[in-house]
């Protein structure tokens, strides 16, 4: 049992469990919450899970960030996913900000944020 906890596989499984549960928690939030702001925050949780997945995929044991500090290139990780995640984080920020502003505008018009009562197009 202790062997498992000290092994590399334990770290990998922990990471898998973390990513999966973040995705599921985020989607659960998106599907069940009624408050618009909470829905956007849940979207942020899913985004975080995807970012962790992209950074974690190329990781290997003993890998270091690809920044040359005089030690040679031993163990450098793939820089492309890291650059990709930077883009993804910024775009996530843009989406969250725009969504929250839309929520603010909706609140200013209607006085609530409950998506169950958003039936203006049906009436």
């Amino acid at each position: 049992m202790m062997d498992y906890f000290n092994s590399e596989a334990a770290l990998t499984h922990l990471m898998m469990a973390g990513i999966l549960s973040l995705v599921v928690i985020g989607l659960y939030g998106i599907l069940t919450r009624k408050n618009l702001i909470k829905i956007f925050l849940s979207l942020g949780v899913v985004e975080t899970a995807v970012n962790i997945l992209i950074v974690a995929l190329p990781y290997r044991k003993g890998g270091v960030a690809p920044i040359l500090t005089g030690q040679g290139m031993e163990g450098f990780l793939d820089p492309v996913p890291q650059a990709l995640v930077l883009t993804s984080i910024v775009i996530g920020l843009a989406i969250t900000a725009l969504g929250l502003v839309m929520a603010v505008k909706f609140y200013q018009h209607e006085g609530h944020l409950n998506i169950r009562k958003m039936n203006g197009l049906k009436r």
């Binding site: 995705v23 659960y28 069940t32 290997r60 960030a65 450098f76 883009t87 910024v90």
Partner: protein
């Protein structure tokens, strides 16, 4: 109750669908051939110690331009949504000014945060960091002043001018690379400089500084709009 159970079951099924995506996790033994190229010749090509910055600013420079454009579009949308809203004078008078402690603390921290942001984006090619990170630190410095109420708002003229200038210079530098070097956003038309000096790696620090200024002013303007106009009804 049934609805909730069904939802949980579907969540579990969804997790099972996503499981194969995670299969390669922790099984990598070497980097792909493209990354191999970036790692082995990136430093010789661009003279920048931070290879992630080389990828972000040069090899995938067009992506970064697109990213800046998306951020600009979001900021423009936010400004459009808050257009025309003016905070009531009565409302403004109701909000109390900051206490002595809060005002001094915020004014003391602001220059440190601001300079730290500039440090992060000017050293983007040498150490972890870069334009986006530095810009966000600067915006958080502005947020500190706005939330504590030391300043009533950030000048819209200043932020929009800075943002427009930085964005236009970014594209201009990209075009300069097209004419003076190998292609669009190629930073090698400026001298390589000495290894890990602050003025090295061609135009990479210039591009990242412009991105930092753009992101910082853009996000400051967005925070300003959210704080001064978001509370209106």
């Amino acid at each position: 109750m049934l609805k909730r159970i069904l939802l949980i079951v579907s969540m579990v099924l969804l997790a099972l669908i996503l499981l194969p995506l995670l299969e390669g996790l922790g099984e990598q033994t070497h980097v792909s051939s493209l990354a191999e190229y970036y790692l082995s010749s990136g430093a010789d090509d661009l003279n920048s110690p931070n290879l992630v910055t080389s990828v972000v600013v040069t090899y995938r420079g067009l992506d970064t331009l697109g990213e800046v454009t998306v951020l600009f579009a979001a900021a423009a949308g936010i400004m459009l949504a808050f257009k025309g809203l003016k905070m009531d004078e009565k409302e403004r008078e109701k909000t109390q000014g900051p206490s002595e402690l809060l005002a001094s603390g915020a004014s003391l921290l602001f220059p440190i945060l601001f300079i730290f942001g500039i440090y992060i984006f000017t050293h983007g090619h040498l150490s972890p960091g870069g334009g986006f990170q530095g810009g966000v630190v600067i915006a958080s410095a502005a947020l500190l002043l706005l939330l504590s109420g030391v300043i009533p708002g950030v000048s819209h003229l200043m932020t929009s001018l800075l943002e427009a200038l930085a964005g236009a210079s970014y594209v201009a530098i990209g075009l300069l690379g097209l004419y003076l070097a190998a292609g669009f956003l190629d930073p090698r038309f400026l001298p390589r400089g000495e290894w890990s000096g602050i003025f090295s790696a061609g135009a990479i620090p210039v591009i990242y500084s412009l991105v930092g200024i753009k992101v910082g002013s853009e996000l400051s303007a967005v925070l300003n709009a959210m704080i001064s106009k978001g509370g209106e009804k």
